[in-house]
């Protein structure tokens, strides 16, 4: 295995482009090292991106949007007060990843590019409308988070391409987001179902919504029917029931030791309701604690 720590994304991309065999990028390493250790994936080339300038920066742009470097850790996000105020759902979803020790290393980009259908931060990013900047030999392009995973462990990134930034939109007024997951324990487990909701209000009425589901299909889902169920409503019981039904209908899960198809389908509806209520309260300006005390 060759270990490289390039000083720029162009250099990182060129290294990946010209490498033979299996290439992995090293962000926090909490997936890469586990896979290396278990002999699941032994990269021939490992490209550590943490020496590139600016990769640990969290920046709020003039228009209110956010740019996060690809080595920003979960712990750094949680400690960032104004990012947590703008996007509590995204921050909490990342905060659910692993232990304190894992939080000290794990990144949004690693969570996304590892390609797990149960990755916690991914539904939250999809609901929030997050994009990533992808850099390759021919320059950079902006890609919606939902277009990166193509199946378990697979992404749409071509050889020589890597993510060079995470772009979170401006939150704007009267808006809130939330992410909830179900796990059989209270900590340190893999999502059986994950649901993220981001919405905006005009008065008491929902005017915009994005609802995303994780761990219930081979890739993350953005479910328009869920959004339609609550847009135009005041999140009354009828709208919540319609939301739950749409979430359950969108599920295409598997049965495994953590949960059956029936259980996952049902829980997706339950969590969609709860997450929507939290997002709604946050849009109203209330401070609501998420899953993780």
């Amino acid at each position: 295995m060759n270990y490289h720590s390039p000083a720029s994304f162009a250099e990182a991309s060129a290294l990946a482009e010209n490498a033979d065999g299996v290439t992995r990028f090293l962000a926090g390493g909490t997936d890469v090292l586990v896979q290396l250790r278990a002999d699941i994936v032994t990269p021939d080339t490992l490209i550590d991106i943490k020496k590139i300038d600016g990769v640990s920066d969290i920046t709020q742009n003039d228009d209110g949007s956010w740019t996060l470097g690809v080595a920003v850790t979960g712990a750094e996000m949680t400690e960032h007060a104004s990012l947590s105020r703008d996007w509590p759902g995204v921050v909490e979803a990342m905060d659910l990843v692993g232990s304190t020790q894992v939080q000290g290393r794990a990144t949004l980009t690693g969570n996304l590019c590892n390609g797990s259908p149960a990755a916690d931060s991914v539904p939250a990013m999809v609901a929030a409308g997050v994009t990533v900047t992808v850099t390759g030999a021919d320059g950079s392009r902006e890609v919606a988070v939902g277009d990166i995973p193509t199946g378990p462990g697979r992404t749409s990134l071509a050889k020589g391409e890597l993510v060079s930034a995470v772009n979170i939109p401006a939150r704007g007024d009267n808006a809130g987001d939330a992410y909830l997951r179900f796990i059989p324990r209270t900590e340190m487990d893999i999502a059986v179902v994950g649901v993220a909701v981001s919405l905006r209000l005009d008065g008491d009425t929902v005017t915009e919504a994005r609802v995303s589901l994780g761990a219930v299909a081979p890739t993350v889902l953005l479910v328009q029917e869920c959004a339609d169920a609550i847009i135009g409503s005041t999140l009354d019981d009828a709208a919540l029931d319609a939301l739950a039904a749409a979430a359950s209908a969108a599920c295409n899960p598997i049965t495994d030791k953590r949960g059956t198809v029936e259980f996952r389908t049902d829980v997706a509806g339950v969590l969609a309701k709860r997450a929507a209520k939290i997002a709604y309260a946050r849009a109203k300006g209330e401070t609501v604690k998420g899953d993780h005390a």
Binding site: M1, N2, Y3, S5, L26, G28, G29, T30, L33, V34, L36, R37, A38, L46, D48, K50, T73, A75, G98, S99, T100, Q101, V102, G104, R105, E187, M188, H292, A293
Partner: protein, 159 residues
């Protein structure tokens, strides 16, 4: 396979080592630097026995490559006591008998110290969540939590 030359600081001392690209920081600490305080329980980030801090940030050293230590400041359990004077956490662990086999103890001490530096007055729930990535097969955790809470109280009173 050529080895990587790394210069780093461990418990305040500048250190150099040569390592294989696949070698983890845990392997380097134990096998090259003879710092065997950090333990390998799982090697996959689940147990926390290998906990150290890098630039003040708590991590599992089994999930860090030795090569990544270049230019960093590493702190391990060996650096917690000052000479023969034990850290309040270490004293309280003995007082409360918060260990049996002791395999998890170095990692828990490093993790608890890192919590108390960030939050000198944690609630029991905060301590339990912070230490959720440190597994103990012997104690049932209760004595560990009491020892950490007690050490926190003493450290607050002393400061």
């Amino acid at each position: 396979m050529s080895k990587i030359h790394v210069t780093t600081t461990v418990n305040g001392d500048e250190t150099e080592f040569l390592c294989d690209p696949r070698e983890t920081l845990l392997d380097v600490l134990r096998d090259r630097l003879n710092l065997t305080g950090a333990k390998e329980g799982c090697g996959t980030g689940d147990c926390g026995a290998c906990s150290v801090t890098i630039d003040g940030r708590l991590v599992c050293s089994c999930l860090v490559l030795g090569a990544e230590a270049e230019g960093k400041e590493i702190a391990t359990v060996e650096g917690i006591a000052e000479g023969d004077t034990l850290h309040p956490l270490q004293r309280k662990f003995i007082e409360h008998a918060a260990l049996q086999c002791g395999i998890c103890t170095p990692g828990i001490l490093v993790a608890a110290k890192s919590l108390l530096e960030k939050n000198p007055n944690p609630t029991e729930t905060e301590v339990r969540y912070w230490l959720a990535g440190n597994l103990c097969r012997c104690t049932g955790y209760d004595k560990i939590i009491r020892a950490v809470m007690d050490a926190a109280t003493e450290m607050r009173e002393a400061s």
